[in-house]
Amino acid sequence: MGTTILLPPELLRMVFTAVVVIALVFLNSLILGYVERKLAGRFQLRPGPMEVGPHGILQLMADAVKLLGKQFIIPQAANSPLFRLAPLLAFVPVGASFIVVPLSQKLQVRDLDVGLVFIVAVMALNMVATLIAGWASNNKYSLFGAMRSVAQSVAYEIPLLLSLVAVVLMTHTFNMQEIVLSQDNIWHVVQQPVAFLIYFIAGMAETHRAPFDLPEAESELTAGFHTEFSGIRFSFFFLAEYTNMFFVGSIAVVLFLGGWHGPQLPFMDYSAAVWFLLKVYSLLLVMIWVRWTFPRVRFDQLLNFCWKYLTPIALVNLLVTAVVVKL
């Protein structure tokens, strides 16, 4: 077979992947958005959304339709091209990250050798989108949100990566599939509980979840960096946030919680995705639980916590891991 015949299937595969990934992004946001609102309700002794559909399961659909129908407002003083670009920029890395997530042994778009590096790098792009959104809005509150976001992301990237490197030292690979396979007998969370905790906390900060939701800080900055965004542009940030949560959960599951490993199911090569998703969503439930319990930390406290607690502990953990692995 010549290359001319090979191209179309490859193209088809790309299109198919793109469609599936975007569908997954929306589906994940719908599910997480609903679960979050429902759980928030239950934590607050109220039933949560109840009106649209049985137990309100279609509430997020209704919200999406509402957002689609809203007018795009671009403030006169805003930097219009950047203002239009920012929501897209928040959205793009989100789709890209899906490429390396190993839902099961076979359900993975591309098994990159540097999968872990790729996903962490792409996720960090989200910060740029936040910065541009805040900057282009030409609103002081938005700018505060953007500045906080950058400082927060830069600071928390360090303990996050340090905790991931601890696992990489043990597995000797950045390949997501191989990391999962290395946990055949024992999950890394048992060997690396400290790294897992640090990763989880830093991950929450990376995704701007409460108590680290400073870039949005409703009671201080009205809505932070997305104050000026309306309609579908606003919903892009919303999608990006929930999808980022999913990736933070995915990385945690791949590196610490055994990926798609679980009790045997028929067609394990594909159906193991059930275990993977189950683990990811359990982690996300904990993140939601934390969000609806604690007050927000202050900006300097956030950075202090990072530099005084997370980073040194992560470094010590890494050092100990390195020594143990060497022995």
């Binding site: 906080r148 409703e218 201080e220 927000r296 930390v297 202050r298």
Partner: protein, 370 residues
């Protein structure tokens, strides 16, 4: 930034409000900022002005009665109590003892409701979304009890010159006792969820300092004054109604920071429960409304009456020239005085701290503007 001699160039102004989630109404704070640091905070008031004092002059005292509850709509009954007390002082009418007891019980219930709302809103300012739902759960119980006797849930017009408009009954007493039990058991929950929480403590402790000197200069009253260690409460210092008959403490703090204000308010709720409990035990029998002349005119002269509302000292001063309407009605509201030290307090704090301090002040905006 300190290396730049021309520091003026670095600062910029930020309008916080009149529409902002944490100004709790239409307060505007003009902030001079340097990055995230607040260099100066100037409250700009007047967005919720309703000419309460002028209304007092243009209507008969009876016509102003419903408005007195609209001063501080979160804790309306103590405000009404002040106005009714003023009219009673001027006309020499005395309410029967049962009515006075009922006034104390309902006022204290209202104080608790106000503090509960503050607790929730304060934590909302700090970014905790859940506690306000728990405090609302408790507050709804108070409102249900009060609705049953007063007929409304927020802006009560319950007190009358010479008594109260409706007597309380046995179910009211039972429900109130049940509520006392309930709230006492709930304090543990608030301690677990809030008081002990490390994030909460780090956010409020030692950020700004209310000093006795500052409080005196600005006329700060209420829990904020008491948190600096000054034991001043109208219910003890200038007793009105039947408050001297009850055994209760005035909680005072030491350090005067926001955590201390928080603690003082929580302890005040406990003391209010004590007062209500004693009043229910000793509730005298008898009428609840004294006979008053149908057309009651204010005699020539002046009088003042002060009460302790949930926010501090609220006092009315009325001058009558013997005519239909008062010549002048002056209302001193606690929120106005409590807001005044904001500029001095919030120098070189972070924006988040300013929001926290505004939450601590427990402002009711229409009360500031009256």
């Amino acid at each position: 930034m300190t290396t730049n001699p021309d520091n003026q160039q670095q600062s910029f102004f930020l309008n916080m409000g009149p529409q902002h989630p944490s100004t709790h109404g239409v307060l505007r704070v003009l902030l001079e900022m340097d990055g995230e640091y607040v260099r100066d905070a100037e409250p700009v008031i007047g967005y919720g002005h309703r000419m309460q004092e002028k209304l007092g002059e243009s209507r008969t005292w009876k016509g102003f009665m419903p408005y007195s509850a609209r001063l501080d709509y979160v804790g309306a009954l103590p405000c009404s109590h002040g106005f009714i007390g003023l009219i009673e002082r001027m006309t020499g009418i005395e309410a029967p003892p049962r009515a006075e007891y009922i006034r104390v019980i309902t006022s204290e219930l209202n104080r608790i409701a106000s503090h509960l709302l503050w607790l929730g809103a304060f934590l909302l300012d700090l970014g905790a979304f859940t506690p306000i739902m728990y405090t609302f759960d408790d507050r709804e119980q108070v409102l249900d009890i009060l609705e049953d006797v007063t007929g409304s849930r927020l802006t009560y017009c319950y007190f009358r010159v010479g008594g109260v408009s409706r007597d309380i009954d046995e179910p009211f007493v039972e429900k109130t006792r049940a509520f006392i039990q309930r709230l006492r058991s709930r304090f543990k929950l608030y301690d677990d969820l809030v008081t002990g929480n490390i994030i909460f403590i780090k956010r409020v402790q030692d950020i700004v300092q209310f000093t006795p000197d500052m409080a005196m200069r600005y006329g700060v009253t209420g829990p904020i004054l008491r948190s600096t260690g000054i034991r001043y409460d109208i219910r003890k210092n200038e007793p009105y109604s039947v408050y001297p008959e009850f055994d209760f403490e005035i909680p005072v703090g030491e350090t005067g920071d926001c955590l201390e204000v928080y603690r003082v308010r929580l302890r005040e709720m406990e003391q209010s429960l004590r007062i209500i409990e004693q009043a229910l035990d000793r509730l005298p029998q008898g009428p609840v409304l004294a006979k008053t002349p149908r057309q009651l005119k204010l005699p020539q002269g002046d009088a003042s009456f002060a009460v302790e509302t949930a926010r501090g000292e609220l006092s009315y001063y009325l001058i009558s020239d013997g005519g239909e309407t008062p010549y002048r009605l002056k209302i001193r509201t606690p929120s106005f005085s409590n807001l005044s030290p904001l500029s001095e307090l919030c120098r070189n704090v972070l924006l988040s701290d300013l929001v926290m301090v505004l939450g601590t002040l427990d402002l009711v905006i229409p009360e500031i503007d009256r």
